[in-house]
């Protein structure tokens, strides 16, 4: 056989065996954060393995939510993979908008996904979105200021201890605030924090008949405690502070404590960004002795919209991006502190990852969060810092605006709770829940 004939035969054989597995270009909508940007930089590895290429559409979190929700509801087909969270996944899956991820390969080892993450991204026991990175919330504190105040942070502090420690660490003359917390309006900003905090005070959004519960003592206690503590030990203008504002304050050494997403740990301990990188300790989010802590649970996950023409290639990408080997790839290129956290059990069993200072506290925080039983009293919804119903985002944004008005001194706690109660019940009635 001549060389030409041989190469022709080889090419023909390749085409036949490839049968249908043609190289595709995937369009992926994602959010702008450090882990996602890192993934974009490593996409060539996926292309080398599969031949598929990727077009990234990176958007700010709130813009992304609006964009992908419009597209999936209208069946626009603009994206082959969408980055969504724990709030959207069960709702969209129930609507039949997502492709079930129930046929991932054995090598992928879906059982290795942390149970809390898998539960939050499933509908009726089927996984609909694969977690790329997961987070809970925890308490970050300045070890030097704590020592100066003559206190020792327990691994699992109570709210009362946190309040007293905040007052002791506050030093207005040196511009040090004992505690920094989110107060910014928005269901994913201050709304998420106060909802998670209220769980530890025994409050809940709805009773089992979907009646709003803002007229209960537990909610009054939550809000009064928060306002008293922040007035005494919080930064000026905390009503408009979100994650970024508090991160900036903490990195500049202006916060004694900060309770927020576990992902913040890598920022505050990074000596290139933080002036207090070597003086940060971690503890579980506080509780009130009622059996529920004030930490939340969240994951950014990759899902495939139903109706995409590139389902097989999209699944290949999801398997690659959320696999154990991807974590190893990031560790090899950028170090273990930069791997996407909070998704796989095996990561936390890895001795090299265990040496990362915030790894164990992140895992403990994630494991202590239970989205199916988020509150002291029973509730009809799933979700810790949210209720996984379509109406929640709109209602919670309005409620958080009322709460932010309290933080800004524009109304009283009682007035805000009365308005929250009325608007929530009105919205739930209009939506047919009551």
């Amino acid at each position: 056989m001549s060389f030409r004939k041989a190469s022709f035969a080889a090419t023909a054989m390749t085409l036949v065996t490839a049968g249908g597995a043609l190289a595709e270009t995937l369009t992926i909508a994602t959010v702008n954060n450090g882990d996602m940007i890192r993934m974009q930089g490593l996409t060539q590895d996926f292309t080398d393995r599969t031949g598929h290429t990727v077009e990234w559409v990176t958007l700010e979190e709130n813009v992304l939510r609006q964009r992908v929700t419009t597209d999936i509801a209208a069946k626009g087909g603009s994206f082959d993979i969408m980055t969504i969270g724990m709030y959207e996944t069960p709702i969209w899956a129930a609507n039949g908008w997502l492709v079930p991820l129930d046929d991932l390969s054995a090598e992928y080892d879906a059982d290795d996904i942390l149970p809390a993450m898998a539960n939050g991204l499933s509908h009726e026991g089927t996984l609909y979105a694969a977690p790329f990175y997961g987070e809970s919330s925890m308490l970050m504190y300045r070890t030097d200021l704590m020592e100066k105040a003559g206190l020792e942070m327990p691994k699992a502090p109570t709210w009362q201890f946190v309040k007293e420690a905040a007052a002791a660490m506050t030093d207005r003359d040196n511009d040090i605030n004992g505690i920094c917390l989110r107060g910014k309006a928005g269901w994913g900003e201050g709304g998420a924090f106060i909802t998670a905090m209220s769980n530890s005070f025994g409050a809940r959004w709805f009773d089992e008949d979907w009646n709003a519960q803002f007229d209960t003592q537990a909610w009054a206690d939550t809000l009064n405690f928060y306002v008293d503590m922040m007035t005494e030990s919080g930064p000026a203008g905390y009503a408009t502070n979100g994650f970024n504002e508090n991160l900036s304050l903490f990195q500049q050494g202006k916060c004694g404590m900060w309770i927020d997403a576990t992902v913040a740990a890598s920022f505050v301990t990074n000596p290139n960004e933080s002036t207090v990188a070597d003086k940060v300790g971690f503890a579980l989010a506080p509780d009130n002795g009622l059996g529920k802590r004030s930490n939340w649970l969240w994951a950014w996950a990759l899902a495939i919209p139903a109706g995409t023409q590139k389902e097989a290639a999209a699944k290949e990408f999801i398997e690659w991006a959320t696999s154990k080997s991807y974590i190893e790839l990031v560790a090899a290129k950028e170090g273990w502190a930069n791997v996407p956290p909070g998704t796989r059990t095996s990561l936390y069993e890895n001795p090299e990852y265990q040496s990362v200072p915030f790894a164990q506290m992140t895992l403990d925080s994630i494991l202590s969060a239970d989205p199916k039983n988020p509150t002291v009293d029973p509730v009809p919804y799933v979700g810790i810092q949210f209720a996984a119903i379509p109406e929640f985002a709109g209602i919670a944004t309005e409620v958080s605006q009322e709460f932010s008005a309290v933080y800004a001194g524009q109304q009283t706690v009682e007035e805000a709770l009365a308005k929250a109660q009325a608007l929530t019940n009105d919205a739930m009635e209009a939506a047919g829940y009551r």
Partner: protein, 276 residues
């Protein structure tokens, strides 16, 4: 005495104008300065103004991460296309309203303007569905059409205002000399209205360039312009202000340069007919 008062007033007015001008320009200046800082310097308190280690690192990262030229090209096509198309549609409309008005002309003008009062999000879903049906989602053609329609009331209003300043007798004389309607508009009316048309073109180009609702909601990977480029560097969870500032500077630089060189035409067009 009167001379002294006039000179003093001139100094005060000049100082006031410079003060207001700098106040308006300050956010842009701050964005440009921040783009040359490190992320730590970008959030430092007290903020540093000029005394920092200037770096081009953010520009390097942004250029490595994003295909800037593709976003820029999309912006040029979308802003330019929608403006030119808008002028083509608006010139005859403004001509008829200015020179052959009917009893309902003013009502139509007000109705056109009233469409600008509807929040854009109110029609997002219907337009999204129409775009899917027509197959123009995430296409430059779709955005040219939608931005032209969004800015059309402003274009018609501006041209109508300029055309009203032109004596109808001149057009009448052209007609009597045998000019067709097309020739009357193209060869008589438009040359006389060049300053007005130029400023309308420029203003609408700037409006279309900066439009961020439709350009974000109707695009994905193919037709995304510079507004989407900026949005990809904004994050509520992570401090990327220096990179965001670099991306913003790169997005506004072309329009800033265009505005700088065409400011004479822009101002003369906007004040055209203001003083009689």
């Amino acid at each position: 005495m009167a001379r002294a008062v006039t000179r003093n007033r001139k100094i005060v007015n000049t100082a006031l104008a410079w003060g207001i001008g700098l106040l308006i320009f300050f956010p842009i200046l701050w964005t440009i300065l921040t783009s040359f800082k490190t992320e730590a310097q970008a959030i430092s308190d007290p903020p540093v103004f000029l005394a920092f280690d200037w770096t081009l690192e953010n520009y390097g990262i942004v250029l490595e991460r994003s295909n800037y030229m593709r976003f820029l090209w999309n912006s040029v096509i979308i802003a330019g296309g929608s403006t030119v198309l808008g002028i083509i549609v608006a010139v005859p409309a403004a001509w008829s309203m200015a020179f052959v008005p009917s009893r309902r002309t003013k009502d139509i003008l007000l109705w056109m303007l009233s469409t600008k009062m509807l929040p854009a999000v109110g029609v997002l879903y219907p337009i999204y569905l129409i775009f899917i049906r027509l197959g123009i989602l995430d296409s430059r053609t779709g955005l040219v059409i939608v931005l032209m329609l969004m800015n059309l009331p402003i274009i018609v209003w501006m041209l109508y205002t300029y055309f009203r300043e032109i004596p109808g007798e001149i057009l009448e004389a052209a007609r009597m000399d045998g000019a067709s309607l097309k020739n009357e508009i193209v060869h008589v009316l438009m040359p006389m209205a060049v300053p007005g048309i130029a400023s309308t073109l420029l203003l609408n180009f700037i409006l279309a360039w900066n439009e961020a609702f439709w350009t974000l909601n109707l695009t994905a990977a193919n037709a995304a312009p510079l507004t989407a480029f900026i949005a990809s560097y904004s994050s509520p969870e992570g401090l990327f202000f220096a990179k965001l500032s670099a991306a913003s500077t790169m997005a506004i630089a072309p329009i800033l340069i265009l505005g700088w060189f065409s400011q004479k035409q822009l101002v003369s067009g906007l004040t055209f007919g203001a003083v009689k």
